[in-house]
Symmetry: C2
Subunit: 251 residues, 2 copies
């Protein structure tokens, strides 16, 4: 089916936060991201806009496909080298079920959508589920966050809190009492800290200030940096910690 | 001193590859990046353009400073929330001296400047020096690569090769015979591979194809992914490997 005018204006509107808020939808761009979305969340896909040139590459329920002329697609896509596929889906309701997996990764005021997305991918690759974040972090359902996350957001338990205090209190109610804060300057060596993944919350702060609030009872952990360097990128720090959990399980 | 017309056109031209090629200079934006540049490479700094509003934040040799009206600065900067400081420096000559550190990180056709920069930062934080790359990778001296690398490029030994084969041959001449290729699908577990950092070259491929050429004698290493996920971001993969070297030294 050809894309309708209404559908293409929705697609356009979803590039903005206001448009997402109004419609309750988000857009999910790229072949891998759409595949991820369909695997976790097929019932909430409204339609999949596809450039004529990309038709041979996309296998899915044909009734979802809306064919878009190549030049209109490029205008709607917003990326320069688009893969020709954008799905429109309902934004998932915040997770409300039980906390899953071995630990929670929490992002405190993480302002960069690219970092949010790559952290989500690392977490997904490590087989974990819980990605929590505080107010002041970016919108996980924005274009760039979904693109850099390649849609893994749809399969994670995202939970949003106003403050780090609220976040830790919710954890405590769920029986998660170990809170670790990644700190660039001090703390226990993350590679030797025994309880780091023992039903814990690991908090990563947005750069350049790290975690802003001090949470009582939280312990600091540090990633050792023999190069005497101020700090690495927040997504890199999160990934080092996430894959330390993988290492401990696989060796 | 106020910025001259010639200087501001140079600054503008350096946003493009052609402009960098013609002048042999690059621009380095942000307070931390300029600090890094000055610490490694002070003699090659041509001038430092500074927005009037940022003057109190920048301490350096006053003869280098060129004061720029705030609105002109924003136009020149190219970032939305600029910190108000851009240095112009000669692009460093490619490294020619001996290979330093314990291992070489090699990027094969890495097309994303943000990834290039964050990998450079991780390497710097880990205290390593050698960052090699093949043709088809992005320009390490472009705006975005320097910004996301926060200028650590200036302190690393960057070496560029036409092909992976040339890269490995150069390594062999330097007595580096272990070549490892990070592979998303198969190989030895990176967390147990003993020789991984033993005067080795570790090759990371640009997404989504990974390393394209097969290099004879190279061994594959894999980052285990219990989540059964296709692959993580190239910069995340590089950082997991880089910090595995740190872990082995610090525990």
């Amino acid at each position: 089916m050809e894309i309708s005018r209404k559908e293409s204006s929705l697609l356009r509107a979803l590039a903005t936060r206001a448009g997402r808020k109004k419609s309750g939808c988000c857009r999910c761009e790229g072949i891998r991201a759409v595949r991820e979305l369909l695997s976790y969340y097929p019932e909430k896909v409204r339609f999949i806009a596809i450039a004529k040139r990309a038709l041979p590459q996309m296998q899915c329920d044909a009734s979802l496909l809306r064919i878009v002329p190549d030049n209109l697609f490029d205008e709607l896509a917003g990326t320069v080298n688009s893969q020709g596929v954008i799905a429109v889906a309902d934004i998932p309701a915040p997770a409300t079920g039980a906390v899953e997996g071995e630990f929670v990764l929490a992002l405190d005021q993480l302002g960069d959508p690219g970092n949010f997305g790559t952290i989500a991918r690392s977490l997904r690759a490590a087989g974990q589920k819980e990605l929590w974040y505080t107010k002041g972090s970016i919108d996980p359902w924005g274009d760039k966050a979904i693109r850099s996350g390649m849609g893994v957001q749809f399969g994670l338990n995202l939970r949003r809190f106003d403050t780090l205090h609220d976040l830790a209190s919710f954890g405590a109610v769920q029986g998660i009492n170990n809170v670790f804060i990644a700190d660039p300057h001090q703390g226990e060596n993350c590679f030797t800290c025994k309880a780091l993944f023992d039903r814990s919350i690991i908090v990563i702060g947005g750069e350049p200030n790290g975690v802003m609030g001090v949470y009582p009872g939280a312990e600091k952990v540090i990633i050792p940096m023999p190069g005497n360097y101020e700090s690495i990128n927040a997504a890199q720090a999160a990934t080092v910690l996430i894959f330390e959990s993988v290492r401990r399980k696989t060796v």
